[in-house]
């Protein structure tokens, strides 16, 4: 188990280094930081000074090590667009996105898992077919359409929920949360539901397929031949065999939402990372984009690492495949 954990962590670090290098190349090769940072009437001396200060006269590898060293010390560079430290920009937007991602994950688990199990256990039931029909819509409808539909119904027609913003935000010092106020919860429901539409549909389909496949397997037949109750067979013996791919997908989807909820955030004017990313692309703000890329990589790798460290608890066979 320790070997397994260590090898996973080493892999994670290596991948992060590679991502950082690619992001660094982006910063180093695209755009002209001097043009962005210097005023139009700067002297040649000022220019040389800045080159030396930014280390642009150093070889690539030295600059990369410097870049990594700075990051480890919490210095992520400055935005070309606003001149603010990139770290501040991201820290400001992070809570909104993370909260949105977790609420939508919660919805996904609370709705998708029971529905998926129901469809897998009763694939031919009327209700099961109905769920599958709805889930097809969930898979195919683009996020912005779902978002606009939800706004049209719940905000415009019924006037129940706000269509934009985060509501009242409580500042905890290190984290600005919208989850401690009623208006914050009301504001997060529609975007979270929008984001989870696809996830719910996806999890339902995946669980259903997995369960139907496991249900055919010889060990489930043997469990039946031993007279175990249907409840025990499905909810313990079969489900446990489907958990590995399900938690993998849930993890990846969580990463996806944190990193790429651009469209949904835009529809709901949600002040999160997605809109920061969009603004940075529009402004060709390379340092922010680069750090954002590394951050996304970090999010995915950490989630993946947690998921992989959970594997052996579910299926001890993964430890054997290691050796």
């Amino acid at each position: 188990m320790l070997n397994y954990a260590a090898s996973r962590i080493v892999q994670t670090v290596i991948v992060l280094l590679v991502i950082s290098f690619i992001a660094f190349l982006l910063v180093a090769n695209i755009g002209d930081p001097l043009a962005a940072l210097l005023s139009a009437d700067a002297t040649v001396n000022e220019r040389l000074e800045l080159i030396a200060k930014l280390g642009l006269d150093q070889p690539l590898w030295t600059r990369f090590l410097h870049f990594i060293g700075n990051m480890l010390q919490g210095d992520f560079g400055f935005s070309y667009r606003t001149q603010d430290p990139v770290a501040n920009l991201i820290a400001e937007r992070l809570p909104a996105t993370v909260e949105l991602a977790f609420v939508s994950l919660l919805i996904t688990i609370a709705v998708g898992v029971p529905a998926g199990i129901y469809c897998g256990v009763n694939p031919n039931s009327l209700f099961g077919r109905f769920i599958m029909l709805i889930s097809t819509a969930g898979i195919t409808l683009p996020n912005f359409v779902v978002g606009i539909l939800l706004i049209a119904v719940f905000s415009v027609q019924l006037g129940l929920l706000p269509s934009f913003g985060r509501g009242t935000v409580v500042d905890l010092g290190f984290w600005k949360t919208g989850l401690l106020s009623v208006s914050g919860w009301r504001a997060i429901l529609l975007p979270a539901a929008t984001l989870s539409t696809f996830q719910v549909a996806f999890i339902i389909r995946m669980l259903r397929t997995q369960l139907m496949e496991v249900g055919q397997s010889e060990h489930i037949r043997f469990a039946r031949a031993r007279g175990l109750s249907e409840a025990r067979i499905w909810y313990v013996y079969a489900i446990k065999n489907t958990l590995l791919p399900v938690i993998t997908m849930l993890g990846l989807q969580l990463g996806n939402i944190i990193a790429f909820s651009v469209v949904t955030e835009n529809v709901f004017a949600w002040p999160g990372l997605g809109s920061l990313f969009l603004q940075s692309i529009q402004g060709a703000d390379i340092p922010v984009i680069a750090i954002y890329l590394i951050f996304v990589g970090l999010v995915f790798m950490v989630i993946n690492l947690i998921v992989e460290l959970l594997y052996p608890l579910i299926d001890a066979r993964v430890l054997r495949r290691q050796t």
């Binding site: 010889e218 025990r232 065999n241 066979r317």
Partner: protein, 329 residues
């Protein structure tokens, strides 16, 4: 002994059909046999003869589109074919244990051996937690696994094939069934392990006097284990005889063909091997009359016209119009 007691399991006219695109095909055609208390009945036949279907049909565990469409199954006076699904569940594992063929696939890979045993015991016997565990450990010991405490916590992938099959046997027997159906219990194992598993089955059978239905295609296994043998061919019973009689004086030409197709050294040490010409008809392709008639050297007009009924004699039965005569040497 055979006639004095009422049979434990009595199967009459068991019929199983398969729905193939709306066409009903008979997979098991009026199969009848019985198993006496404490007896081992071998069920033998080629692949596709309906051996496994017979076993699965008894505990109502046929895989759709296979479906039981007729006949009666009586276990110690209870009509199994009329039981509710819930009552049937308590029969499975509780009254009838089932040993599956392939130990690599029949154990749940993500649940410990001990948990699988305890769940099975608790499904049938009203025992407390510690009693259940004690019984599970006891069974691991009885099937010959060293260090039951250690095995209890292990997962199937940590055990060898032979050890897994021992676990499968423990799982089938741990709730004290009166009948065990073993479906090719040694087919998936190495030859050296096969002998150990057969020995274990025989020992357990002797200890507990549980009745057994041993499904196999291996006449060697039959000779070692069975008291009586039912020979199946194309979903029908060809012959049922006590094992000695079956080998020394088979009545059905198919039985003799099957015996002669098994490599066995003769008295002179010479290996004799005769194969039956042709192949067994597949599902839905059974010829009219006796299913064996196209391959039978004794076939005549009546064999092609009508299905021979099961003809009962003192201790045996066969379905053939022109049975082989006893060779009195």
């Amino acid at each position: 002994m055979i006639t004095s007691t009422a049979p434990l399991l009595d199967v009459r006219d068991l019929t199983v059909t398969i729905n193939r695109d709306g066409r009903l095909v008979t997979a098991l055609d009026k199969v009848s046999f019985f198993v006496n208390p404490g007896e081992v009945l071998g069920i033998v036949g080629e692949s596709g003869a309906g051996k496994s279907i017979t076993g699965a049909a008894i505990i109502d565990l046929l895989v759709p589109p296979l479906k039981r469409t007729g006949g009666t199954i009586t276990l110690a006076g209870t009509r199994l074919d009329q039981l509710s699904p819930k009552a049937m569940r308590s029969v499975r594992g509780g009254r009838i244990g089932f040993v599956f063929q392939d130990p690599m696939t029949s154990l749940n890979p993500v649940i410990t051996i001990g948990q699988q045993l305890c769940d099975t015991i608790q499904a049938h016997l009203k025992l407390g937690g510690s009693q259940t565990k004690k019984r599970a450990l006891d069974w691991l010991d009885r099937v010959g696994l060293p260090n039951p405490d250690v095995q209890f916590k292990r997962f199937p992938h940590q055990l060898s094939g032979g050890m897994r099959q021992r676990v499968v046997i423990a799982l089938a027997l741990c709730a004290d069934p009166v009948l065990v159906i073993a479906d090719e219990p040694t087919t998936a194992l190495d030859v050296s392990v096969q002998a150990h598993i057969l020995e274990l089955l025989r020992d357990l059978h002797r200890e507990s006097n549980v009745s057994m239905m041993l499904i196999t295609h291996d006449l060697g296994v039959i000779a070692k284990m069975a008291d009586r043998v039912a020979v199946l061919y194309a979903g029908r019973v060809a012959e049922i005889s006590p094992v000695g009689e079956l080998f020394s004086a088979p009545k059905h030409p198919y039985t003799r063909g099957l015996i002669r197709a098994t490599p066995m050294p003769s008295a002179t040490g010479e290996m004799r091997l005769d194969q039956i010409p042709g192949a067994m008809p597949g599902l839905g392709a059974v010829p009219p009359g006796c299913a064996f008639n196209p391959r039978c050297f004794r076939a005549q007009g009546d064999c092609r016209a009508t299905i021979p009924p099961l003809h009962h004699e003192k201790s045996s039965a066969f379905s053939c119009f022109h049975p082989l005569e006893r060779v009195t040497a």
